[in-house]
């Protein structure tokens, strides 16, 4: 009886549930406890309640997803369990001068709720995904523009893992990643890519100077490795199809700058690879290829919506079989990717890139700078929220 009286008092003194404008509503703090009160509203709705003693405010929301008229239709997704509380809890708070404010139910990290309590992902880790995309990819080579060129790109698995410690380490793995371009045709594929970045807590070398007061200077080198295996490039040329097999390439990396989670970086890398090339009518040749690159990947916002990357790479194949001498490959590229929409929490992103390439290792390819650009969409699967 006392409980019923408390519910009556509560529900006649406090507002009835109704659908409000989600943009104007505060959200419950997912890091603070939430209480659940049965039959807290006149129509017997169960409420989630979170009170703050400092601001004398109690945030409340229906404990479930509601329809447009405010009636609970189903349980909240991704909701934490709440602590049951008696209906008198709200009455006591009212007596204590608390203000009751309609709010959005709490959502876990990386997720938000709308005014109906429906949850959706708003934070995406594009470094953990598989993707498929298509793009318009015009190019300009030796004064000729190929404006109708298109491409599709793919990645069977992109996976990065940060091992947190005093010297955090980020492992990056990519499997079956590449793209195929048409009109004119060319394609590239890398079966396996792995690189690792590490932030060394201890300096590699510390130098103490004794001119005047002794002073210490630390020299820190954040060294890592970069390995690719099973690279393939195909080019359709007037002189016949050309194939380039990059059997294996290994580079040593030095990170010039790292973000705290090592997701963003600027680095230099250099090393050597072994490759084989063939072209219709010209036979096979193989080469040892020293090379190096300056590259950077930046995640520009905490939610993982904006990604910017740049790369300058130079390789110099030195032929050891089937041919003599050396060749040159130089390419530069900048790319930007932004998430524009999410379907069932799987992001669809817009990708823009521009680049230039100059090479003389494939007969028939113009030994001039080739300018390329891309504008297209990528569909990504998985892409969970980024690590906190």
């Amino acid at each position: 009886m006392a409980g019923a009286a408390a519910v009556f008092l509560c529900c006649t003194a406090w507002p009835a549930p109704a659908l409000a404008d989600g943009a104007a509503m505060p959200s419950m703090d997912p890091s603070r406890p939430v209480l659940c009160i049965d039959a807290a509203s006149p129509d017997g709705q169960r409420w989630r309640v979170q009170c703050d003693e400092n601001s004398k405010t109690c945030l409340w929301s229906p404990d479930g997803e509601v329809d447009r008229s405010g009636v609970v239709k189903r349980d909240l997704e991704r909701a934490r369990s709440c602590t049951p509380a008696p209906a008198s809890y709200l009455t006591e708070r009212k007596t204590g001068g608390y203000q009751l404010v309609r709010a959005l139910p709490d959502a876990p990290y990386g997720w938000e709720r709308d005014e109906r309590g429906r949850v959706y992902q708003v934070n995406f880790d594009l470094k953990r995904r598989l993707y498929l995309g298509a793009a318009w990819a015009p190019s300009r080579v030796a004064g000729e523009t190929e404006a109708g060129r298109t491409t599709f790109d793919f990645g069977l698995l992109v996976w990065e893992h940060l091992r947190r410690s005093r010297s955090p380490t980020r492992h990056r793995l990519r499997l079956v990643e590449g793209e195929a371009r048409l009109a004119p045709y060319s394609a590239s594929l890398v079966l396996a890519h792995y690189d690792v970045s590490r932030h060394y807590d201890n300096p590699l070398v510390r130098i103490t100077t004794f001119f005047g007061r002794p002073r210490r200077s630390d020299l820190t080198l954040h060294l890592g490795t970069w390995v690719e295996a099973g690279g393939l490039e195909l080019h359709g040329e007037d002189q016949g199809n050309a194939r380039l097999w990059k059997v294996a390439t290994g580079h040593l990396t030095i990170d010039l700058w790292q973000s705290a989670d090592l997701e963003s970086y600027a680095r230099a890398r250099a090393g050597v690879g072994f490759e084989g090339a063939s072209q219709d009518g010209l036979g096979d040749r193989s080469a040892v290829t020293p090379g190096g690159a300056l590259e950077s990947e930046l995640t520009l916002d905490k939610r993982g919506f904006h990604h910017l990357g740049a790369e300058i790479e130079h390789e110099r194949p030195r032929y050891i079989e089937g041919s003599e001498g050396t060749a040159e490959r130089t390419r530069a590229r900048v790319h930007y990717e932004v998430i524009v929409i999410a379907l069932n929490d799987q992001p669809l992103s817009l990708r823009l890139s521009a680049g230039a390439e100059k090479r003389d290792d494939i007969p028939g390819l113009a030994d001039r700078w080739a300018l390329t650009a891309q504008a297209g969409l990528r569909f990504s699967l998985w892409a969970p929220p980024r690590a906190q």
Binding site: V176, N241, N344, D345
Partner: protein, 280 residues
């Protein structure tokens, strides 16, 4: 390791009231099989085949969301003078009881969508004749799918989407590439599947229709389809033997072919748990 996984999935514990296990005085025997978790050997009307299939569900923080992952590994079918093989094919579907699209402009907005989202990936496929004719090497194929069936299990699928592929036509004699073909998400894909609760009967249809650009003729029409119906007839030592009827419409030469075969699954997962025998 795959064999270890499959063997580990074979029945082991005892439990009563399981419709997939029938009690018998000499020990319970299975009446259900999981055709998505097996190593199978095929004997067809004109050749042999084999392959490994695995499928499993990965949960998420949200009990309303799960990932249904299916894998086909080292699938081979050899007939007189022809061979078809796939190194790896995977299907990854995110099942959610609440489909939606999020518009992340300003404060993100959520609109309801009545389907699940998924993708297919296929790496390293081969089709061709072994008598020195042409070989069709599928380097990679990918598809973005929406599954309208929104089934919470593997037994039903009604998926449509857009597919991209990269194929190389290799001359069998010179072993050089005759043509390269690229479909930049220019194919419409359809994927249907139905499977009985017991797993004894299953049927599937996959089709691709659209345009492919190739280095020899430019854009051309691409129509391909595969269909198969399978029914388990008997089980020997709890290893099912099934009969299957299949047909395909080859996209390269637009020819129709069919086959009938027997399929033995020496390693297969049996759903549920073994019931106690009467003698126990």
């Amino acid at each position: 390791m795959i064999a270890v996984v499959l063997v580990a999935a074979l029945p082991r514990a005892a439990a009563a009231d399981d419709p997939c296990w029938v009690s018998h005085r000499h020990g319970a025997y299975p009446a259900c099989f999981d055709p998505g978790n097996r190593l199978h050997l095929d004997l067809t009307s004109d050749g042999v085949g084999a392959g490994i299939r695995l499928r499993h569900v990965v949960g998420a923080d949200d009990p309303d969301v799960s990932w249904r992952l299916e894998h086909e590994i080292a699938s081979v079918r050899a007939t007189r003078g022809a061979i078809r093989a796939v190194a790896y094919a995977g299907r990854f579907v995110r099942h959610s009881t609440d489909g939606h699209v999020v518009l992340p402009f300003g404060r993100p907005r959520k609109l309801f969508l009545p389907f699940d989202i998924g993708a297919e990936a296929e790496v390293g496929s081969l089709r061709g004749d072994t008598s020195g004719g042409s070989l069709h090497l599928g380097v990679v194929r990918g598809a973005a799918l929406i599954d309208l069936s929104r089934a919470g299990n593997f037994r039903r699928r009604l998926a449509i989407g857009a597919a991209a592929r990269w194929d190389i036509e290799v001359d069998g004699d010179s072993r050089t590439a005759r043509a390269h073909a690229v479909a930049p998400l220019s194919l419409a894909a359809l994927d249907l599947r139905a499977e009985s609760r017991s797993g004894l009967t299953s049927a599937g249809l996959r089709a691709e229709v659209g345009g492919v650009w190739s280095t020899d003729v430019g854009w051309r029409r691409w129509v391909g389809a595969d269909a198969e119906i399978e029914r388990v007839l008997v089980a020997v030592q709890d290893r099912p033997l099934s009969v299957f009827v299949g047909g395909s419409f080859e996209p390269e030469d637009e020819s129709v072919s069919g086959l009938v075969g027997l399929r033995l699954a020496p390693l297969i997962r049996v759903p549920g748990r073994r019931a106690s025998s009467i003698d126990d």
